[in-house]
Symmetry: D2
Subunit: 301 residues, 4 copies
């Protein structure tokens, strides 16, 4: 049995939403709304396959990029297709998405583990070709809570962190924000800004939380950690995490504590507001057995 | 130029979010939260392709159903695959989704039109194979507003409406809820309940709003209309809308008034609460040029 | 170790083509060409997703049908897209295919097994999420050999067999064709003709070879068995095979004898020629680790 | 009307196979078989998405690479899934392929054009989102003919051509092979060998036929031209063809003469045999409205 903060059901229990944020926490979160201004914290999904567009969005090297296809569009009518009925014209489409490493997404608790058990003792063998019958993203439930921004580059007076940076707990504390049980820790590294330099600059590695920072957040009983990097913890130049099993950020947060993770957020617009407390909403698609969902997380200020 | 309520930019203007809900409306919407309880209004996405699962979710006959593939899962490790590094195990996946008619989704303003112009005079020719450069779902912006439930079956004392029902404006008015500019009208028909009888029962047609009801909502300047049916308006037994161009619900709401639409919601849990006013949140994926996005809309009570 | 006819490599051997048809057999097969006329034995792949087209091709109920998307087409130019360079216009596309049960295809030897070993003792654990590293369709190699048509409906004087028909070995013998080691047995049931009546007629079950007929062909050391039904053996009304493990056609042919299988061929044009001996060619795509490949098999008369 | 060699039907004619190779040509082609040895001329399709495999096959930079997913595999059984019936275990899969620029494929005649007409006057407007109703790969028909290898690097005594090489007609003539009407010209540049150096080396450009060589082959009335490069003609370092409309290889061969094209073949094994005349077979999948099909072309020696 893991050091579960958020497990509302044990290894023999298959029902319901895992992370049921307490009503009082939701009400308190909603009270964070001051201006009534909504910001999307998402990267765009660019899937036009016969153009360079997909490669213009930050992504981990080698991952299969999104594909977006129009199955009917205005070109069909321009080329002579007849409208529907008395003159109705429509556009229809399809997308192919592999969320990890390619777009803003939320991990399910089944995404990573060690040994034979997922988070909270659920048998790993329940994660098979047809999906994860335990700890899938469909069990995660919507996330509505108090978001707290840890703007680490701002703390350090830099535009973005360096690839080798591993953010210590002391930096999170120094950001000065009060963090409470049930909050969503939103951590900015600024790393997506390097994509503008070149993909190679982005792929040189990734800054991220240190194991100590991960434990610091787990100790404060956050419901979720959301970062603008690709893996919460850092990555080396081979796009791998360096930590051993005891210090791996996914294992600390997701596996031992049942804390959901979201990666590849876009936090530049939020950081520019100077606001560090807001209503945070993430509504993962209810993909049965999914290991993740693309999301468009919101900060409502 | 259409009778645009919500057009913040005209045909020559490519920038920004189209439906920018006013900050005061968002603050007022947030004030609807009383309990702090969050309900998902989404159908599940069941995409396991080597099982009957995809066909167990309500959908329009003949539409390509979601596909969900695990590119790494626990079975690999059970069959002998080596963990990563010192023992990390992961699961990874991909989804293929054609939102219209297959799952809970939000339409972009480019989804339907007549003639050569989209909503608000934008040239239809901008909707091509690589996506819609005008009025795509990426321009829609997140929706955060006051949700108002119109529970028509409850009004009529039935479990769900009949396939041939076209809900008149008088029924919406009789639901008694106050509806204001910027609100999200959430209309329940109960039609997804027929899926439990059989797919054929579901495919017999679909109840929906009448043209008059559509105009009634447009006159009240709603930001969005969200229904649990597949097409807002009704469908006949061939799954087609019967109205002429002047009365088609998509053309009235989406095309003439720039009112976003969401279809195939699951409203049974919300209806059971008896609540008719709540904070409504829909965060479509930022699919550049998309005609729609699957969504997991939320009612926060 | 299975009763392998065609296994050219054993359980520890990972290299090369599995079914290497002997050069003299290929030369003899080529000598079957008399007219110089080529027939395709394939069903069409209809993947236009915003039309009923995909559902108009015979397929097993519930299988995910092919999807075909144009990522650039003439409609784009009609709607104003600029040509490439001085005036070049192009069309580009993508397909999504799940071969089993949806289109004319060839099974890999890894497609079915019992216990923990694939054909010829190869460990089943080598078939994982990233594909089959043993017995994948990439190991099958192209098939070029003497094709022999067993036109069972013609033998019985009927248009097509009945759903419950299980073709006995005696019927194959009665077709009168000489069958030799290395040949490709092409067996016609005529079942695709029922699709013209209705999908429901097609889904009522499927005629197929009996276990005895399977053994009869294995005894004659054929290289491959190709049928116009969906599963070589028959299927009941739930689209399942009825035989026990000893009599299952896939286990007899694929698993015990390493005889490749192809299903869902279109044999009506070939049957109409009256020819029963021809050059047969099937060139599966070299999908590493694939369990099957869509194919366009040829009969060269 | 184009200078069509192979057009068996005109702009108002929608039926049948376009390139109907004459029976006598097929019989003569079959007579090329001497040894009875079959070589695949195809690159592998590597689609395992959670590994670097897809990127290990030569492809044009930026193209969407193949994806291969196992929807059931042995890992499921190792992890506890129950077999079917009395013990049947199966593996099932799906592929996503965008043929142009990513794998060995055959172009349809609708793939490229200039102005408003496809090959032979067919209206370009017939190529829409649902596919090409004229000149699609489904109309191409199987290719069975006399293959003639033009091994240009061998002629020049080099391992492979240089990126800037444009092969003149004189080189084709100097290869010494007799080329006749209906033949398939198989031209080797050796360019795939540069992939072993690095992807960047491969992407530096591509050698190809000159316009003069294209015309030389058209004058000799070949049925098809198949190369191991990505675009028949050469490409510059931006992966674009440099020729003007009059000299573009696709326009000369595909558009003006209705000569089918196949690209990205693997010709190293064939070149090593020293054989220059053989039976060539290409059986494109019957993708209705397709602009191309992945193929596994065969040389039967």
């Amino acid at each position: 049995m893991s050091e579960s903060n958020w497990g509302r059901w044990g290894p023999d229990d298959e029902r319901g939403t895992l992370n049921l944020l307490a009503p009082e926490a939701v009400r308190a979160a909603v009270a964070c709304v001051r201006e009534g201004r909504t910001l999307s914290l998402s990267l765009p999904i660019r899937g036009a396959t016969s153009s360079p567009a997909p490669a213009t969005v930050p992504h981990l090297r080698g991952r299969p990029l999104p594909q977006h296809f129009m199955s009917v569009d205005a070109g069909d009518y321009a080329a002579g297709a007849r409208p529907i009925g008395a003159g109705l014209r429509m556009a229809d489409d399809a997308i192919v998405v592999t969320p990890h490493g390619t777009t803003t997404h939320m991990d399910a608790l089944c995404h990573m583990w060690a040994g034979d058990e997922l988070y909270n003792g659920h048998p790993a063998g329940r994660v098979r070709s047809y999906g994860a019958t335990r700890c899938g993203i469909d069990k995660a439930g919507p996330v509505v809570g108090r978001g707290v921004l840890f703007d680490v580059p701002r703390l350090r007076g830099v535009r973005h962190l360096a690839a080798g940076d591993r953010v210590p707990a002391a930096d999170l504390a120094a950001c000065g924000a009060e963090i409470r049980s049930g909050d969503i820790a939103v951590v900015r590294t600024g790393w997506p800004l390097t994509w503008e330099d070149s993909p190679e600059a982005y792929w040189a590695g990734q800054p991220g939380l240190s194991a100590g920072a991960g434990r610091w957040l787990a100790d404060r009983d956050v419901a979720m950690v959301a970062c603008d990097n690709a893996a919460i913890g850092g990555l080396n130049e081979r796009q791998l995490a360096d930590e051993d099993l005891g210090d791996d950020l996914h294992l600390i947060l997701l596996w031992r504590h049942g804390i959901h993770l979201a990666e590849m957020l876009w936090l530049e617009d939020l950081a520019a507001t100077g606001r560090t407390e807001f209503l945070f909403v993430a509504a993962p698609l209810v993909i049965e057995g999914g290991t993740a969902s693309p999301i468009n997380p919101l900060a409502i200020l």
